[in-house]
């Protein structure tokens, strides 16, 4: 079935689902009000967003150069860097590092979702756990994350309780409160963190200058995923590279603010594997944190997009999800509109970048062209203009070039 008909079918099923509609709208409504408040109370954020826009533009214009610089820097500080040209190559690289029969903990990563990493590692016979609570619920449900930052907004507490009962065997009493369930999940995942062989994370930004990875979060699971297991693998799209560590921190701050979570609880900076020189000043790699750090940079259409006039500006995206919160279509469909991994206005375009224009062009027909997204994007991506370009491609295809 073509992507548009498929999406329309899925959307039709949720349009009359009261709970789905209400919870998506409630979450979006909060974000719509919270973000302007945050921006008003911390006026420097808009300036930071402008700086992020500028450095992202610089990197997109010289992507090959920055990939090379980032890889050199990562190796210089004792990490291993890889460049995967497509999803299957990325899966294989990660698969080779992980091996079989291992225990793997993951922190939420849209890039991992993009390449189907969890499913692949499971197929190799590994035990794999998502550790972001929302993403874990998605894993248990077997569905698709419904928002880049808040993946499980469509699940009620009753649904969460029954997932925990059915899939994890928890004894969740009737009428359990969210805090009770969070506590159960926490103690369940603690045992996984302690024994995990490998931790896999994404990255909000990678500094070409220092090879540092920056990750922003609120749950605290990323610090555990990237800190406890002996091996840490970070998977990131090449567009996550920025020139300096300072730029990378700015990305993290802007991402958190425009998602409506500011100040963020934690920002993690990871520059190479852990090390100590406390015994006779001999430098030993691997102290309390991981012994190995692998950084897998993913191309998967991004380099080509950086040279494509229609798509290139989307590479500035820092995945804050604000265009999703604000989009009237998204507020009624969540990520059921956008493609297999990504959703909303930015999702359609990311699908075009990572799966090809044919997989996304039809989906653009659901864009209202209302421009709410353009108005709120921190890095001023002209989303509705790009979507209009995709509509053209679709209409031409549909009418055999007689648009």
């Amino acid at each position: 079935m073509d992507p548009l008909s498929k999406a329309l079918g899925e959307i039709r099923r949720v349009l009359d689902d009261e709970f789905f509609q209400e919870s998506v709208k409630r979450a979006a409504g909060h974000a719509e009000e919270k973000v302007p408040d945050i921006l008003d109370s911390h006026p420097y954020l808009k300036e930071l967003a402008r700086e992020v826009r500028r450095v992202k533009e610089e990197v997109i214009s010289n992507l090959d150069y920055y990939i090379e610089e980032a890889m050199k820097s990562i190796e210089r500080i004792g990490g291993k860097a890889y460049l995967a040209s497509d999803a299957s190559e990325a899966r294989e690289i990660v698969g080779r590092i992980v091996g079989r029969g291992k225990l793997v903990v993951m922190s939420k990563s849209m890039t991992a979702e993009e390449i189907g990493l969890r499913e692949y590692l499971e197929s190799l016979g590994n035990e794999v756990w998502e550790t972001d609570l929302g993403q874990l619920l998605i894993q248990l449900e077997g569905g698709k994350p419904m928002h880049s930052v808040a993946p499980a907004i469509h699940l009620s507490r009753e649904r969460v309780a029954s997932l925990l009962r059915e899939k994890l065997g928890f004894e969740v009493p009737e009428g359990a409160r969210p805090e009770d369930m969070v506590r159960m999940v926490r103690s369940f995942l603690r045992s996984k963190f302690e024994r995990a062989d490998v931790g896999i994370s994404g990255a909000n930004a990678i500094a070409a200058e220092t090879g540092s990875i920056v990750l922003v979060e609120n749950e605290g699971n990323i610090r555990l995923v990237t800190g406890l297991p002996p091996i840490h693998i970070a998977l990131a799209g090449v567009e996550k590279i920025v020139p300096t560590l300072m730029d990378a921190i700015k990305v993290a701050l802007v991402q958190a603010a425009y998602d409506g979570l500011y100040p963020p609880n934690y920002i993690n900076v990871i520059s190479g594997p852990s090390a100590t020189a406390d015994i006779e000043h001999v430098r030993v790699r691997g102290a309390h944190g991981p012994l190995q750090l692998h950084v897998v940079l993913l191309d998967n259409g991004r380099l080509e997009a950086s040279r494509n006039q229609l798509l290139r500006e989307q590479l500035r995206c820092i995945r804050c999800g604000r265009c999703q919160w604000e989009c009237p279509v998204w507020q009624h469909t969540a990520n059921l509109w956008g493609g297999p991994a990504y959703g909303g206005p930015m999702g359609v375009i990311w699908t075009a970048i990572t799966m090809g224009v044919d997989a996304a062009a039809g989906l653009s027909m659901l864009c209202l062209g209302c421009r709410r997204c353009d108005y709120v994007c921190p890095v001023e991506i002209p989303l509705s203009r790009i979507l209009l370009g995709l509509k053209r491609i679709y209409a031409h295809g549909l009418l055999g070039g007689q648009g």
């Binding site: 209009l388 549909l398 009418l399």
Partner: protein, 330 residues
């Protein structure tokens, strides 16, 4: 590629109808211009009132959408295609088949008549192109049919020039935006000044060239996306309403943050369009039972979903020129 879908049939229908008849729904042209006959507007002039047919078309597009809603999710494109060809060849038949509510057709005529009167009362003389008041092609552009759109844009421009236009007054956000912001990159040598009647009217009211009166005492305003975020026509309607004595209430999402009425996806996903309209209506209703809209697409889409019994009115149904000695507003 999706070979035979209802969407394909629809796109072809809109394209062929606009190219052949000058309207996205094939109707006799008098449906578009008959409102102007009693006003005896001149055919030629440097200032042309160009409606782009949107107000007049909406009642027909609404009935067409009802048919499409019934077909949503089905695959009956062959029949549709054959029917579409017959309709394009016989505009009178289309009018009969679509049979919109007479009150809706009448309403569009009344609105345009009032707009023309408001302009005249402001001292802005204008001509009207009658059978050349063609559709601007907005829908073709929005749906990605830009080759056909380019052809339509060129034709509309030539016709307006033939009527002597150097300034064009537009009456809805979509036609205003397409002429002001899009035509210049599709039509070689495009040299028309495009002004919107709300801009003309708010200036005239400010300069006291016209006295206005309102027909309701208060209303919540629904900014259309294209005025708010494409054209920045935001303060003008507010000034006009206030000068008319209408108290303007702001909904939760207003001005640049205004919410879409859902209309633009009506042809692709009618149910989704209605849901978006319902969401918007709920927050408008929090402020007032009277809703003022500024766009015929907003009117149609919000009215279709109006289960809350709101009174939805176009700004040109709420405001009129006060003729000296005609008494005070109700």
């Amino acid at each position: 590629m999706a070979s035979a879908s209802p969407l394909k049939a629809l796109l072809e229908f809109l394209r062929d109808s606009t190219l052949r008849v000058g309207l996205p729904v094939p109707l006799p042209m008098e449906e578009i211009y008959s409102w102007a006959l009693p006003l005896r507007l001149p055919r030629m002039g440097s200032v042309i009132l160009y409606t782009g047919a949107l107000y007049q078309l909406m009642p027909y597009i609404e009935s067409l959408t009802r048919y499409l809603s019934a077909l949503e999710g089905s695959r009956v494109s062959d029949t549709l295609l054959r029917l579409a060809r017959i309709l394009i060849a016989t505009p009178k038949l289309t009018r009969t088949l679509l049979a919109p509510e007479p009150a809706r057709v009448e309403r569009a005529r009344r609105i345009l008549t009032n707009i023309s009167r408001l302009l005249s009362s402001s001292g802005v003389a204008h001509a009207y192109p009658y059978e050349d008041d063609l559709y601007s092609g907005v829908l073709l552009y929005d749906l990605g049919l830009d080759d056909a759109f380019a052809e339509v844009a060129g034709r509309v421009y030539r016709k307006l020039k033939e009527h002597g236009a150097s300034t064009v007054i537009t009456v809805d956000p979509h036609t205003t935006n397409i002429l002001r912001n899009v035509y210049p990159s599709y039509v070689d040598g495009f040299d028309l000044e495009v002004v919107n009647y709300l801009e003309v009217l708010s200036r005239a009211a400010e300069e006291s060239r016209i006295r206005l009166r309102g027909l309701v005492s208060e209303a919540v305003i629904h900014d259309p996306c294209f005025y708010a975020r494409y054209l920045h026509i935001i303060d003008e309607p507010r000034k006009i309403l206030e000068r008319s004595g209408v108290k303007v209430l702001e909904p939760r999402r207003s001005r640049e943050a205004t919410y879409c009425c859902g209309g633009p996806v009506e042809s692709v996903a009618p149910r989704l369009a209605s849901k978006i309209a319902e969401t918007r209506l709920k927050e408008l209703a929090e402020k007032s039972k009277n809703v003022v809209v500024l766009c015929p697409i907003c009117y149609t889409n919000l009215s279709r979903a109006n289960k809350l019994g709101l009174r939805i009115l176009d700004i040109a149904e709420v405001v009129e020129a006060e003729v000296p000695g005609s008494g005070s507003p109700q």
